[in-house]
């Protein structure tokens, strides 16, 4: 039986800069974040595991649990597919009282069989939930037996919600890929230099703005982990030459373990902001050239590509720059995205006057402080009241945050842009900056603001 990693093991990721032990600090602390009852916002470990794994498009995602877990979550993710649609279906065992009292392993087995028979996915991912973990359902053995009987990969994901936060769930999802998927493919290696993209979920099709750049340089994407992902490609991810981890501390365990197991080095990068995109391309190219996987001409070709795209982007941004220059933004989003969006704002001549650092590492914080300058406000605590207070104090023109805070801003009559997983527009790559500029411009300069802020005429009378 595969050893299911404990919370402690997963919380002390050596490659993660959140982890004090990784930098010679106390090994005991790890990344444990304790959610505060009555105050906590955000998803659970189960939610995080789904965010990481559901973008794999050609597999079925089966939630073994009562209705809240599978019922609310299916079909709501913004990850797009260029082909298979299995991932869009919501499969659940929808446990009832009887199942919980007498156990539901038989039901789970039948559910797996029904999916294999009726839907024919490339694999089935089975998600544990709080209740199935609590009553001791043996997911590992049911999945193993079903996999043998059906000759189909059936993968247990130990994603009980109470195990931790959404970020921790991302890591649990990555762990399931390491334990059961990556390295299992026997397919012959394809020619040419290749990379895996890790931690990019193809929200609104973002990866499609970046892949053509790589293709133009003759760099193949072996596996997308996991946006627009395919099971077989991820199973063969160990054949890639380099792992590129995008805006994600949570999946560093995948990159670090692949380095240990298969000797694949990794870099951390961002697709937001032209400086970051260019830097990402340069890092990939440097690695391929240094390790003799590509010849020196790749450097010239990549510089030419970067120059062309940067110039094109510059001309497309010009009209927006004039309208957005000097505008002030409050940014409320997690971790790496904070500094990468600051860079994107810089492309538009806008200033981020405050940003959240709740989920940021010490490195992220240092970088953010440098980017924001001495007047920048770092938001330590969460909550609507705190955000509105910061906006008022800084005189910001706009809030850029996750969808959860959309109505915090709108109800306070403040322009808002959604930057997280439910957005409808792609902001990655060079094209993405232009889309971001267009959306910010539309939100900020809409004629509605003047109308909603103006009192009714009778309220103006003394």
């Amino acid at each position: 039986m595969v050893h299911a990693p404990t919370n402690r093991e997963l919380l002390t990721e050596p490659a993660c800069s959140h982890n004090p032990a990784a930098k010679g600090g106390s090994a005991k602390k790890g990344c444990a974040q304790k959610a505060k009852p009555g105050d906590a916002q955000g998803g659970c470990a189960f939610d995080g595991a789904l965010i990481t794994l559901v973008p794999i498009t050609d597999v079925a995602h089966l939630v073994h649990g009562p209705i809240a877990c599978g019922g609310h979550s299916w079909g709501t993710r913004g990850s797009l597919s260029s082909g298979p649609q299995h991932y869009r279906h919501g499969f659940t065992t929808d446990l009832n009282e009887h199942d919980i009292i007498f156990g539901a392993e038989t039901k789970l087995r039948q559910a797996i069989e029904a999916i294999a028979r009726d839907h024919r996915p490339k694999a089935i991912f089975v998600y544990a939930t709080c209740v199935t973990a609590l009553i001791g359902e043996d997911l590992d053995s049911v999945c193993k037996q079903a996999a043998q009987a059906l000759a189909l990969p059936v993968i247990p994901v130990h994603s009980a919600g109470f195990r931790g936060s959404k970020n921790f769930g991302n890591r649990l999802g990555g762990q399931a890929l390491l334990d059961h998927v990556i390295g299992t493919s026997q397919a012959p290696r394809q020619a040419g230099p290749s990379i895996n993209i890790i931690g990019e979920y193809n929200i609104a099709g973002e990866v499609w703005a970046v892949e053509p750049l790589l293709e133009a340089l003759g760099i193949r994407v072996q596996a997308r982990i996991t946006g627009d992902g395919r099971y077989e490609a991820i199973a063969a991810a160990h054949q890639a030459d380099l792992n590129v981890v995008i805006c994600s501390k949570a999946l560093l365990n995948v990159a670090r373990t692949m380095e240990e197991r298969y000797g694949i080095p990794f870099i951390e990068a961002s697709f937001y902001g032209s400086a970051n995109v260019s830097q990402c391309l340069r890092q990939i190219v440097d690695h391929l050239v240094d390790s003799k996987l590509a010849d020196l001409s790749l450097i010239d070709r990549s510089e030419a590509l970067i120059a062309t795209h940067t110039a094109l982007m510059g001309s497309q941004l010009e009209p927006y720059r004039q309208r957005l220059a000097g505008k002030r933004i409050v940014l409320y989003t997690g971790g790496v995205k904070s500094w990468s969006i600051i860079a994107a704002a810089a492309d538009l001549g806008m200033k981020v006057v405050a940003t959240s650092i709740k989920k940021s590492t010490a490195d992220d914080k240092a970088r953010i402080e440098e980017l924001l300058g001495p007047d920048g406000v770092l938001i330590e605590k969460g909550g609507a009241a705190e955000i509105l207070d910061v906006i008022a104090r800084t005189g910001a023109d706009m809030l850029i945050a996750g969808g959860r805070n959309q109505y915090t801003a709108l109800k306070a009559r403040i322009p808002f842009l959604d930057i997280n997983q439910e957005r409808h527009h792609a902001y990655a790559g060079y094209e993405g900056i232009v889309a971001l500029a267009r959306e910010i411009d539309e939100a900020m300069h809409s004629p509605v603001w003047e109308q909603v802020r103006r009192p009714a005429p009778w309220e103006q009378e003394p």
Binding site: A68, D94, R163, G164
Partner: protein, 429 residues
Amino acid sequence: MTSTKPASTAAPPRQALAVDTFKHSPALGAALALLGVKGSVPLLHGAQGCTAAAKVVLVKHFREAIPLATTAMDEVSTVLGGDANIIEAIATLYGKSKPKLIGLCSTALTETRGDDLEGAVCRLRQQHPDLAELPIAVIHSPDFMGGLQEGFAAAVGSLLETFASPGPTIPGQITVLANACLAPGDGQELKDLLEAFGYQPLLVPDLSDSLDGRLSEAPSPLAQGGISVEQLRLVGRSEQVIVIGESLAAVGARLAERCHCSLTSIPQLMSLEAVDGFIHQLSRWSGRPVPERYRRQRRQVLDALLDTHFYFGNKRVPLALEGDLLQGMVAFLQACGAKVQTALTPQIGDLALLGESCDGAHLLVASSQAAALAQSKGIPLYRLGFPITDRLGQGLRVSIGYAGLLRQLIELGNILLEQELAHPVHPGG
């Protein structure tokens, strides 16, 4: 928990698996009901995700900020018990925003491990004397018992048990128990109607005042409107208790029995016959004639029935809705001449089953969750129920009374008319 005999292992696999279910958690339903109480905040006793997932759906449907808190159960509290989490969560919420009501709702996790919610509230009041008077309603809403409608009913039941008490009848006051499928706009329609006959209506819950989508002066982390806790204490003293929807029949009967009020149950208000009966009843109770406004609106409904009947006639319509809404919509469609091809509640089937039973259908009626199915089948979808995430204005929607009838006749009629113009049907085809 009640125990039943173990099922045979030979049960067909189909029943073991729900594919694209439209069932929602009872805790979400309970939270929805609590949002119709002024100054309330629902608190789900479970892992963080129980709250986060419910909140996302509610926010997307109503396009409003939704107050919803969590006791944030983790591994340790799951093993040792969630008492301390409940107490800390309530004390924290009170310290932050002084809610007028906290609705403590259980989830599958905490019911399975057997947390004693009522006991935890007692211990909270002992440990925090300053919270001795804080109104708290405890709601048992585990995921494994029913869906949205059942959780909503459990919350309404708990509000009535916790606050309503018998007493001298308050003349002119009417209590309406409004089921989970009545939108904020429906609540307003009901209140207008009762006021037109001279009554002072109390809706339990009153979403029309909290989720109707209006911009307030100061954003608040609590439910911005709704029935107040003080009003809830009076709902057992009305001239009449009117229960709308079968899902609330049991809690309505309990209230009537406990507070000795006169009880009237109405399954739905979506067909002409049902609305006529209700308005006639109000006229007889109040001794007032039906106001001219409603007589005129009724004539508009009759005219719309004539104008639209060409397009409804023999149209095959599969539906997937919560029980109370399904009953109303079936009555509406049949009265228009349409044929109900399949009628599913979340307990009977899932959207995969709806997909298997919609061959030759002209129109699907379900929530936004069926949008992909409708598109793949090439059948238009009339969005109704919960959640509706790809259409605006759910806070204002009216589906009941003459106003609701008019709106649905015209909206559905337009879809069917468009379809006929696009695909002329050969007679008998």
